[in-house]
Subunit: 307 residues, 2 copies
């Protein structure tokens, strides 16, 4: 799939699937949006592995790991775009670590289960990634978010992102590197060498399909372990399908739980940001890149490009 570049060198994108199997229709729809709107003129190469299915993985561990290594070692690749999340990236990290990958200047894009790869890249190699839509999400994405991720890909710095209907637990303006990702995937790195140090950082969290008590348990662990010590601020994205199926009038919601657990940390916390598992709205943010949270305005400013 080669389109004519609009100007300058051709942008080269490699698509990999480090986690779950990828539905063909959503992959193809995403590829069309990618080449038509996100990165017109880009050269896109889809790893053969992306079309594999092996239980709940897009191919065996060795195959998925080889796809990651090949993408990083491809001297001509600019962007490594993950096709989807699911589960499976965390199984690959021990084998990737110390594999002598050539990461130079490549941008890894994805979220959800890809949190594990973004955290590995930052914590082990200090590579800034892009926490943003997976390829299968691009086809259904709101045009504003297509443009937003396109700006990052072009090497621009997108305009600030404002929370939609959030809660500001504590005001203030904080600058720091942005880290985090999917709460459950991030938590699954606790105790491993892939856990990114959060001191001084703006921690961003989103979640999907976890009942409130499970979000409570995850945050309680992060707090009790000391992993949140020194966090400068926290921004909460979408909490998609995190309702309580056995709801009763005194059941706390996922948002209640997040506020109850995080408020005592004494740092700015703002909820309601538009990133996560919503199928249509998802702005991208720099994983390891510098941002400024203006909590009083519930606004996040991006301070540097990711490539």
């Amino acid at each position: 799939m080669i389109a004519t570049p609009s100007s300058g060198a051709v942008l080269r994108i490699r698509v990999i699937a480090p986690s779950g199997p990828v539905p063909a229709d959503r992959l193809n729809k995403g590829l069309r949006t990618l080449t038509a709107h996100v990165a017109p003129g880009a050269h896109v190469e889809v790893s053969a592995q992306v079309r594999q299915r092996w239980g709940y993985f897009a191919g065996p561990d060795n195959t998925r790991r080889a796809a990651i290594e090949a993408a990083f070692n491809d001297g001509e690749a600019d962007i490594i775009w993950c096709a989807r999340g699911g589960y499976g990236a965390s199984r690959l990290l021990d084998g990737l670590d110390g594999a002598g990958l050539d990461h130079g200047g490549k941008l890894l894009v994805g979220f959800s289960d890809v949190t594990a790869l973004l955290a590995w890249a930052w914590s082990r190699c200090e590579i800034v990634g892009l926490h943003g839509p997976v390829l299968t999400q691009l086809g259904g994405l709101h045009p504003a978010d297509v443009e937003q991720v396109s700006a990052w890909i072009r090497g621009d710095v997108p305009p600030p992102a404002a929370a939609d209907e959030g809660t500001v637990v504590r005001g203030g303006t904080v600058e720091g590197r942005m880290l985090g990702g999917n709460l459950e995937v991030l938590r699954s790195l606790l105790g491993t060498k892939y856990w990114p140090s959060l001191a001084g950082c703006v921690l961003a969290l989103e979640e999907v399909g976890e009942r409130p008590y499970r979000i409570d348990r995850a945050l309680t662990q992060l707090i009790s372990s000391g992993a949140l010590r020194g966090v400068a601020a926290i921004v909460i994205g979408q909490l998609t399908a995190c309702g309580e199926p056995h709801y009763e009038s005194d059941s706390p919601t996922a948002a209640d739980v997040v506020l109850e657990r995080l408020e005592p940390l004494g740092v700015p916390v703002v909820t309601g940001f538009g990133f996560g598992h919503d199928p249509t709205r998802h702005f991208a943010w720099p994983y390891g890149g510098r941002v400024r949270l203006r909590a009083d305005d519930a606004t996040l400013e991006f301070l540097e490009p990711v490539r």
Copy 2:
């Protein structure tokens, strides 16, 4: 509720609910089984807190923590029996730690979310507990398991427990202290000071309501973190309702995942033991107490009483 003791001093049991709210009917049924069959003649005191409901907890944190402290500091109590699991014990540990509790000779009984308390008691205070049926489970328990937990409570050592229909991954005979509990609750202690060191231990795990990929993620984290380093053997209990709802022919089962992840550890692993969330079958085992696994016979021998 005072029954006449059959012999010797009256056994004193305090019932607490450190986690979720307790259904009254199952509590009452469990109390009847307790006093009629498990500990005839015992004096049973049910903390008022056990009948509270506060969201998904049996009362606020302070109330539940106070019930735990009161039970441990009750100089006449012999047994602290947890009414049920759910979620909530892990929220209490930071406050319990260093509270100067008088644990002397008291036996804590429970499982599931109570794993957090059992692990805290062992890792912080070297108190051997009893990983066994919660009170609300007693009413529906098989008579053989009622007798088995009764033996522990009397101060006896029950007969060996054999796996029902398990798989033996690697044979051999191993002695060690038995630790573990509910996989997801145990995992939620990783990175905290309540994580029990597993070196030289027989690790016992059970799970309920987790899809295979989630069990995979939990075990992957335990392995990648080094938390299983030095484990002497692993016994797997019930994997209740851990099927894949979106099952396809190549979907691994929970049992498949457990074997695939644990086999490479190179220690004896035996699955199919009768402890966990099955409503009728649940043998109790000593949390922190010494056992002998005879893997070739899929049999677990208990080597010392818990009180």
